[in-house]
């Protein structure tokens, strides 16, 4: 009942600070994959955690805002189709909040496998289907080019989430404490 208010403020703050983190990660953190010009997308790896804690609205809006700001200051203007797709990915990750139930402090191997299959599908739909289609319809770019870009992004983002995302989820779950569990040991 009363907790609702607090949650909605938390969502606002999580969106804002989440966007700030995403912006900084996108702009300043680069881990190369070994393939020239392709980098692990650390911001994408942070997204599942944000979604798992604060839900779809915070995660979706945070990446939308973070990505837009980053595009603004690096490319001059946002590439809207990809920004929106990224927002949808965040939303989809946030929808896994209930199922992952990370606050309970237990994250079984089954849940992790389920989540990774889910994220690969989400990324597939987003980067291989939605984003290129958007580029074709709106920007009228050649199909071959945008699909190749889409597939590359799909692979990189899924990989980023699989590595960084999973590590973060597991480590965060470890910090959660169960009800009445903190006791001093002599």
């Amino acid at each position: 009942m009363k907790n609702k208010e607090n949650n909605s403020i938390k969502t606002v703050v999580a969106t804002g600070i989440g966007a700030a983190i995403i912006f900084v990660l996108m702009k300043f953190v680069a881990i190369p994959t070994g393939i020239p010009n392709t980098q692990i997308n650390v911001a994408e790896g942070f997204l599942p955690l944000l979604g798992a804690i604060y839900g779809p609205i915070a995660a979706g809006l945070a990446i939308f805002i973070g990505h837009t700001l980053n595009d603004f200051v690096t490319y001059g203007s946002p590439w809207w189709t990809w920004v929106i797709t990224d927002g949808l990915v965040g939303l989809a990750f946030g929808l896994a909040k209930r199922k992952l139930d990370i606050q309970s402090g237990v994250l079984s191997r089954r849940k992790l496998i389920w989540f990774n299959i889910y994220q690969i599908i989400v990324n597939f739909v987003a980067w291989v289907l939605l984003a290129p289609t958007g580029d074709i319809i709106i920007y009228h770019e050649p199909a071959k080019k945008v699909f190749l870009q889409g597939i590359t992004t799909w692979i990189i983002n899924s990989l980023s989430v699989a590595v960084i995302g999973t590590i973060l989820l597991v480590l965060y779950a470890k910090t959660r404490t169960k009800r009445g569990s903190l006791k001093k040991e002599r």
Binding site: V13, G16, I65, A143
Partner: protein, 279 residues
């Protein structure tokens, strides 16, 4: 403190600085959308010229933005090259004619006037909004930004989230730097010397404190905001909001007319493309 961003608000006194953030935002969005959809070269050139004139009026010096412009050009060039490599004949498909410059249409790699023209159009589309975006970023006080978003109809909570992002980017950046050094001091290697896995682990080692401090901060900041009654009403007022003046209304009319012209051109051209080859 804006030096943390590559580009950022710069307080000067020009017509554009005085304009309300909402007007500039509406203008930027309207032009982006219409420019994104249309392939009418004349219209795109028109907007580009218009935005370059505004850019001149805004008194932004080129040196302030030269770095960004270099990145944008490199990015555009790379994309255009990819477009050509993947579909050298795409221009002919779109415009329905063949005016060859090099080799015949049967060769995979060939070059036609149509392709060149199509790529030129793409180039315009990649770049026309850049001066507008730079103007928007450099003439709008970030403090006014959230109020502007709210004014054009975005819910105030969402608008405030943007404000919080702007507020905390410098903090997150400083944290990131410090944490990264503190971890290196403890023996984690994240420089280019390290191999793939050690580097991933090293980076995760920085990411963790960064994320956990930020999560803590989310808790504390939301408490601080709640203690000062954020989120109670259906709306809120903004100290930094700029009220609309005459200049704003006339600018909105100009924006509307330009967009209208763009839409009218769809009818004239019978679609999104202006085809100079047909005649």
């Amino acid at each position: 403190m804006n030096s943390h961003f590559l580009i950022g608000y710069n307080d000067k006194d020009t017509f554009l600085h005085r304009l309300s953030g909402s007007t500039k935002l509406i203008g930027f969005i309207a032009f982006s959308i219409i420019g994104m959809i249309t392939y009418d070269t004349r219209f795109l050139l028109g907007i580009l010229t218009f935005s370059l004139i505004l850019f001149k009026l805004s008194k932004i010096s080129i040196t302030e933005v030269s770095f960004v412009i270099k990145i944008i050009i490199a990015f555009a060039a790379l994309n255009l090259l990819m477009v050509y490599v993947f579909a050298p004949g795409y221009g002919m498909t779109i415009y329905g004619t063949q005016h060859m410059l090099w080799r015949s249409p049967e060769n995979y790699f060939n070059l036609s006037w149509e392709e060149l023209f199509y790529i030129f159009n793409l180039f315009l589309k990649y770049t026309f909004a850049v001066p507008l975006a730079l103007i928007f970023l450099m003439t709008t006080n970030p403090s006014e930004f959230a109020a502007s978003l709210n004014k054009i109809g975005i819910p105030y909570k969402t608008s405030y989230a943007v404000e919080i992002a702007l507020r905390y980017i410098p903090n997150v950046q400083r944290d990131y730097r410090t944490i990264s050094l503190a971890q290196q001091a403890r023996g984690y290697e994240i420089s280019k010397k390290a191999k793939f896995w050690p580097r991933i682990i090293g980076n995760a080692q920085i990411l963790l404190p960064l994320i956990f401090t930020s999560l803590d901060r989310i808790e504390v900041v939301s408490q601080a905001m709640e203690l000062r009654r954020f989120g109670q009403g259906k709306r809120r007022t903004w100290y930094m909001e700029k009220q609309f003046g005459k200049a704003d209304y006339s600018s909105l009319i100009v924006i509307f007319l330009i967009v209208l012209a763009g839409v009218a051109l769809f009818n004239v051209n019978g679609g999104r493309f202006w085809n100079p080859f047909k005649h």
